[in-house]
């Protein structure tokens, strides 16, 4: 299946759900859907476009909104599904029911962006330490790292 055919098929299958559909490079297809259409779109990709393989999920902080990109790959193309939701309401549905291999990526997004992934089978923190302060989300653009003052035990006061 060539890129043009995939784009046409996607346009037909997704219909109104596809807000944006582009093909910027060879075997690279970007589709934008609303958060509520995410699960049906992923189910469609998995069942009809041979995209059972989720490469990863990227999160982007766009100022007043978060954008998540679900990078799928089939043997013929790399389909990237993107969705955007406002920062004031940082929650999105988990896709683990459809793609069981997504659990680690979704846990990482929860840690790094402070987005609540609803319905995650295992919502514990993944990469941040246990004593990490609450409400600190490192990959948000407004988060800056400040090196804590080094205190030498028993050293000069």
């Amino acid at each position: 299946m060539s890129d043009i055919e995939i784009v046409e098929n996607l346009r037909r299958d997704l219909g109104e759900k596809a807000i944006e559909l582009s093909n910027p490079g060879v075997r690279r297809i970007f589709v934008k859907v609303a958060p509520r259409d995410l699960l049906p779109a992923i189910t469609l990709l998995r069942d009809k476009y041979d995209c059972a393989y989720l490469a990863t999920i990227s999160g982007v902080d766009k100022g007043d909104a978060f954008e998540f990109l679900y990078h799928f790959a089939s043997p013929v193309a790399n389909i990237n599904l993107r969705t955007e939701f406002p920062k004031s309401e940082p929650r999105i549905a988990s896709i683990c029911a459809v793609i069981p291999g997504a659990v680690l990526y979704e846990r990482e997004l929860q840690d790094m962006f402070g987005v609540l992934v609803e319905g995650l089978p295992d919502p514990r923190p993944l990469v941040l330490p246990d004593d990490w302060p609450a409400g600190q989300y490192p990959l948000r653009k407004d988060w800056k790292f400040e090196r804590p003052q080094e205190v030498i035990p028993g050293g000069k006061s």
Partner: protein, 400 residues
């Protein structure tokens, strides 16, 4: 009664900080919990503060074994963003180094697999031969680990006729040795008996859990980015995707040895048709706003970088997914129903390594979560008592 055995994050024999908590019933693992993040360096955040050139060297330091993979994945993405077309010769040299890196990584892994299976002469042979390819890499780039050969728009060092002849010679030696390993791997009965049927991962699970690289290919999923998404030179090269359908550690050994042989083939083709000309073009300092998904087949599986530019000399976002992370859910599945003695072998088979059984263990009563450190002698006494009273391994299931 079941116990939880924690392995790591700090362990005398553990090369990487990861924590595995095994719930065991007798010798059989019933559940596995994995905790990550002990080595998290905040690299994606750091990349947003560095310019395009600095980030090459930053991404190179993600991993020590497949340093070139991350740098190449990043560089080929940035080239697409900047709409650069690197010269053919530069590309050929870049992917020649990629294949040499795959060879050194797979030889290293074969040695580790031999070591974990108790076949130490195999380990010493493969690591001796790995020095051949390490010397070649040092000759090409000047470094054994971080080759630093990539730059945006091409590579930084050219090859001369003498170096090409040396690489050819080295590949002849390595191919002879690898064929011998292939023979040994398939014919040494004790080695085969140790690794066959261990760490079973069905094809359905490999697909569902998004496994990548040799782990997926050993379960019969022919997923190789070099074939599925051929970029740069790979559409001009003739090679096969190595697969196996035994779905166990034996399959993973076979896949990696086959891939070694394919990599020699690729190297020879690249050297044979090495075009003349420049090795790099000048890159602009800034990239236009845009985004790109760059994929690369690292020795351990698919490497994917998502790069977003905002028009400045720094990336807006750099997302890196290394292949090992993708293989963790599959590893949990492999360890389940396996034996404690197989943990090092199964875990090593995805390519990070952890080995040996515990000397002193912390026992956590599975119900209450209470921890107590026991001495080996106590543990032994308890084990004897348990085995005297309990029917031995009644619910042990051989993984096959």
């Amino acid at each position: 009664m079941n116990f939880k055995i924690p392995i790591g994050p700090q362990h005398p024999a553990l090369k990487e900080p990861i924590s595995l908590r095994m719930t065991v019933e007798g010798e059989v693992i019933t559940d596995v919990d994995m905790r990550l993040g002990y080595n998290h360096r905040g690299l994606e955040k750091l990349a947003e503060d560095r310019n395009w050139i600095q980030n090459i060297y930053l991404t190179e330091r993600i991993c020590g074994i497949c340093s070139h993979s991350h740098a190449t994945c990043y560089v080929q993405g940035v080239e697409k963003l900047m709409e650069l077309a690197p010269p053919r010769r530069g590309l050929y040299i870049r992917y020649l180094v990629s294949e040499l890196e795959r060879i050194h990584s797979h030889l290293l892994w074969l040695g580790v697999a031999g070591h974990e299976a108790g076949f130490d002469s195999f380990f010493m042979y493969t690591w001796r031969d790995r020095e051949v390819v390490m010397d070649l890499l040092e000759m090409i780039s000047g470094n054994r680990v971080h080759y630093a050969i990539n730059t945006i728009g091409g590579v930084r060092r050219d090859l001369d006729a003498g170096q090409i002849a040396k690489i050819r010679e080295g590949i002849v030696t390595l191919r002879k040795r690898s064929e011998y390993y292939f023979y040994i791997g398939a014919n040494e009965p004790s080695f085969v008996a140790r690794i066959a049927g261990v760490g079973f991962l069905s094809k359905e699970n490999a697909v569902a859990l998004c496994a990548v690289g040799p782990v997926a290919r050993a379960s019969g999923v022919a997923r190789d980015v070099r074939k599925d998404d051929p970029w740069a030179v790979y559409d001009e090269i003739d090679f096969e995707v190595a697969t196996a359908d035994s779905c166990d550690v034996l399959g993973r050994v076979v896949v990696r040895v086959k891939e070694l042989l394919e990599s020699y083939k690729i190297c020879e083709q690249l050297l044979k048709s090495l075009p003349a000309g420049d090795i790099a073009v000048k890159a602009p300092r800034k990239a236009k706003p845009g985004e790109v998904v760059s994929r690369y087949e690292a020795p351990r599986g698919e490497n994917i970088h998502y790069i977003k530019a905002n028009g400045t000399d720094k990336p807006e976002r750099l997302k890196v997914r290394a292949p090992t992370l993708a293989n963790y859910p599959a590893t949990v599945e492999m360890l389940r129903k396996g034996f404690i003695a197989d943990i090092p072998l199964i875990f090593a088979a995805i390519d990070p390594c952890i080995c040996c059984a515990e000397r002193t263990v912390t026992l956590i009563a599975a119900g209450s979560g209470e921890e107590s450190v026991v001495r080996m002698s106590d543990l032994r006494r308890r084990a004897i008592a348990r085995h005297q009273n309990a029917p031995v391994k009644r619910n042990a299931v051989w993984p096959l």
